[in-house]
């Protein structure tokens, strides 16, 4: 792993820089650290920072940019004739990359000599065969263009990494040199190091923004790509969801409405379970429960929120589904065809959401000032009258916020619906029918064999975009309401 080594080398250089900087500073003060502006360690840290930060920064940038550059260079060498009918350049590039990886691994395993792997005129059948012997994944026979591309790809990458390593080490050394040159006793090392540290802290804080930007960009680009292949109107207003398999046979119907309907139906069932139970639990815990009961029941309810969703998914698929079938299936009321249904997923999701509603509502009810309750008791109201007519109206905005947050959870929940709701997209009113949701379809469209350039895979990004916008809207609204509510009583 050359990267690991490179990082270690840079760190070693920086470590040496630290020691040198520290001793040079001490020397400049005649060995008495009291004559220095800052503590000796700051002079060392200054040198170390100046070497490590630019070196690692250049390394990360290089690693990000090199694949783009190499990709476009190699892509340019592949003639249009090599791009088969119904395929795309990005598919061919994926093949090139796969072959390049295969060659690398085959050489590493000793199945192939380095000369053979870099020979542009190597016999194609032989290359394919030896790749297969080395256990590498080769989807089709390697063509001349792909082999040349792969070899160029490998060569360029190797050069790139070599140049990068040299550059990074040079930068690290230059940093040490520069840092040492400014090290003398009047130099304000602490201020410089602290400014550097602060810059690092700001960098860490902006990762949150970078993440959001990353999410938005990856969604937007692929969604735009999708809308170039599939009409915008058909996606948002289509009532039929029927992707064709493997992206080749026939046109697909990719209407989002059945998925949205499934999503909302399941969320509504979930909220119908979670809101009354969660709200009443919160009321009881905050207004009636003895401290003992509260200390036990509150954490226990919150355990429900800490259980991974895969567990709920399995619970829906293997426990709740069969149980519902027993009562509502053909042997019972005859409403239900199979265990996976809106009701199954909705009920289980409802259980999962109980603690969301109850914890948030509990906080919010507790934030209602005691003076409000006292005023009501002072007038001779019973506890339930006080809660219903004074506390709940006062807490209402906050509770609405909590319910919106729970709704956003329900819409974005994946594992329960993947396992519990079924795979059929349909617009039905029967809660015992199997339906599917936006999240479940994102999973199924991106985990299949369809290639990433086909509308069948790209639609997942459009679905993701819809999901992101929906949940973001709900979250922003909910957080705004809750914040306003908090301010009211602060």
């Amino acid at each position: 792993m050359p990267l690991l080594w490179l990082t270690l080398i840079v760190l070693a250089i920086a470590g040496a820089g630290y020691v040198l900087g520290r001793s040079r500073a001490l020397a400049s003060a005649g060995g008495d650290s009291r004559h220095l502006h800052s503590l000796p360690s700051y002079y060392g840290a200054n040198v170390a920072l100046k070497s490590v930060v630019p070196a690692i920064g250049v390394m990360i940038l290089w690693l990000l940019l090199q694949p783009l550059y190499v990709g476009s260079q190699v892509s340019g060498t592949i003639p249009d004739s090599a791009v088969a009918e119904g395929s795309s350049r990005s598919l061919v590039m994926a093949e090139v990359r796969r072959t390049a990886d295969g060659l690398k691994n085959a050489v590493a395993l000793g199945e192939m000599t380095t000369e053979f792997a870099t020979d542009p005129d190597a016999d194609l059948a032989e290359v394919t065969q030896s790749l297969k012997d080395a256990g590498q994944i080769v989807t089709a026979d390697v063509t001349q263009d792909i082999l040349r591309g792969a070899q160029k790809y490998r060569a360029m990458n190797a050069t790139g990494y070599f140049v990068m390593s040299g550059l990074v080490i040079l930068i690290a050394l230059a940093g040490v040199f520069f840092g040492l040159r400014e090290t003398q006793k009047e130099f304000r090392a602490r201020n410089v190091v602290e400014a550097g540290l602060k810059a690092i802290l700001i960098g860490a804080a902006s990762i949150a923004i970078l993440t959001t930007v990353g999410i938005v960009l990856s969604l937007v680009f692929n969604t735009l790509e999708f809308f170039r292949l599939y009409p915008f109107m058909d996606f948002f207003f289509g009532t039929k969801w029927a992707p064709s398999f493997s992206g080749r046979g026939g046109a697909s119907d990719l209407g989002i409405l059945p998925l949205l309907w499934g999503t909302f139906y399941i969320s509504i069932v979930a909220l119908t379970v979670a809101v009354p139970i969660g709200l009443f639990a919160a009321i009881y815990l905050s207004e009636y429960a003895s401290p003992r009961l509260r200390a036990v029941a509150k954490p226990l309810l919150e355990v429900l929120a800490g259980i991974p969703t895969i567990v709920y998914g399995l619970f829906a698929l293997l426990t709740v589904g069969p149980l519902l079938v027993k009562f509502f299936g053909d042997d019972g009321l005859g409403w239900m065809q199979s265990g996976t249904a809106v009701m199954t997923a909705g009920l289980v999701m409802g259980v999962m959401l109980i603690p969301f509603v109850s914890s948030l509502s509990d906080d919010i009810i507790n934030a209602v000032p005691q003076a409000m309750r006292d005023g009501s008791y002072g007038l001779g109201a019973t506890q339930s009258e006080t809660i219903r007519q004074v506390v709940l109206p006062a807490a209402l905005p906050g509770i609405v916020g909590a319910i919106l947050l729970a709704a956003s959870r329900a819409i974005g929940e994946t594992m329960i619906v993947v396992l519990g709701a079924g795979a059929a997209a349909r617009l039905s009113m029967n809660p015992f029918d199997a339906m599917t949701t936006v999240t479940a379809k994102i999973v199924s469209q991106l985990t299949g064999d369809a290639d990433f350039a086909s509308p069948e895979a790209l639609v997942a990004f459009a679905l993701g975009m819809t999901l992101f916008v929906l949940t973001l809207g709900l979250n922003v609204l909910a957080l705004y309401i809750v914040r306003k509510y908090r301010e009211q009583y602060e």
């Binding site: 409000m372 006292d374 001779g380 009258e385």
Partner: protein, 265 residues
Amino acid sequence: MNDMRILERKVAANDIKISASNTQVYYGDNHAIKDVSIEIEDKTVTAFIGPSGCGKSTFLRCLNRMNDTIDICRVEGDILLDGEDIYDKRVDPVQLRAKVGMVFQKPNPFPKSIYDNIAYGPRIHGLANSKADLDVIVEKSLRRGAIWDEVKDRLHAPGTGLSGGQQQRLCIARAVATEPEVLLMDEPCSALDPIATAQVEELIDELRVSYSVVIVTHSMQQAARVSQKTAFFHLGNLVEYGDTGQIFTNPKDPRTESYITGRIG
């Protein structure tokens, strides 16, 4: 001036409304009220005075069992309202509080309209048979709270939008609306400015006609201005209880004297 007013005040003997004997209150292990016996008269303003933490508010809250809402609080001894023990097992604190209303230190209007604030008590106690009844009660209570003229045009505006003094009078009107027999006030003016305080004090004096009013205050001037009877509490004990004029001019207990002359508290 004050002393003159106190001396002039006619102190008529009224019926006994509340009678407490040997009352003890504990907060966990803390003995907060020690052996207090007092008889509070009807149609009289009784002031509880004393330094902070002397137990005057605690004792006040015993009188309508507001202390029930605090888990660790325990009350012993007899407190009789019209001869009935309010700590009797059969007594419903809800019914008791309808008879013994309370106004708190900080104005605490509900986050509802002014009208709904006043109507809240009558509604839960079923005092009105119709909307018209309720309108009558609301108007009458707001008039008694001496705030009707200020709010009659905006009855459906939120009660939290009023000024501090208006809010406190609204709370008094709200307490009056349930037709209580006793009105407890826990430092009702401590959060108010002097003008609002004067308005509330005037109101208290007027309420004396219909109710037995018990007011806790840490302002001796206020006690002197509004009350006919004064009780001085110190460290959980009822030190002295008597006519306001006598307490402020001729205290019998040296502790009372030290307090009203400003040497302790």
